[in-house]
């Protein structure tokens, strides 16, 4: 489980920033073109998978990813409660800012959630356990 293939690691190392750019573009242009938080978050999760495929050692600290995901969940819960469920009058600029910030928060949350699932499966269940 700890030997890497030379061809895959070189090619995925080349594709790394392209996938990152596509994911960020899909998230940020969610209010004008097809896309949005959920789709861009799933594309960004493949960046974490690529990082493991390129260099399969176990030096990622999952503890900080878990804390980050819980903070993101409380922010996703807090922002509509403050802005939408009261009777604050909003103009065009604050509406667009609300859409952009919500898309970014949802995208980051989906990305960290899926990559935590992947890393827990790989670190704790893979390799040398079935013997």
């Amino acid at each position: 489980m700890n030997d890497k293939s030379f061809l895959i690691s070189r090619f995925i190392g080349f594709m790394y920033p392209i996938i990152l750019l596509i994911g960020v573009y899909i998230i940020v242009n969610g209010h004008q073109s097809p896309g949005g938080g959920f789709h861009g978050g799933a594309v960004l999760a493949t960046v974490f998978i690529c990082r493991y495929l390129e260099n399969p050692n176990q030096d990622l600290r999952i503890h900080y990813l878990e804390i980050f995901e819980k903070i993101l969940f409380s922010l996703v819960l807090l922002l509509p409660v403050i802005l939408l469920f009261n009777n604050i009058s909003m103009n065009v600029i604050s509406n667009k800012a609300y859409l952009l910030i919500m898309n970014i928060l949802i995208g980051l949350k989906v990305c960290t959630g899926l990559s935590i699932i992947f890393y827990r499966f790989v670190f704790y269940e893979g390799g040398g356990l079935w013997n």
Binding site: Q32, S33, P34, G36, F38, H39, V110, L114, I117, F121, E125
Partner: protein, 117 residues
Amino acid sequence: MELITGENISILIFFVGFAGLMLKRNVIKSIICIGIMQVAIIIFFLSVGLSPENVPPIDATGLQNVADPLPQALMITDIVIGVGVTATALSLFIHMYHQFGTADWEKAFKLRKDSEE
């Protein structure tokens, strides 16, 4: 009347997954069949009321023949639910394999009933 529409294909895929869920004995195949049924339901909800001359609902105030945006917005969350269910089911399967030594639910049932007596 057309025979190959989205609704017909999705009903067929749903019942293929349903038949696999009932007739197979391996647990991994059951988990895969649950995923197949999920995809079939998503396709069915997206293709009800959709015709080939529809325009996407972007910048479309005052146009005719716009596609329905409500089922698309609801099916986005359904895909993430499918990922969560599959991940939890697979992590439970690993513990079942370690305890009973087999991936067959009938044999695991018999082993569990024998060990309780």
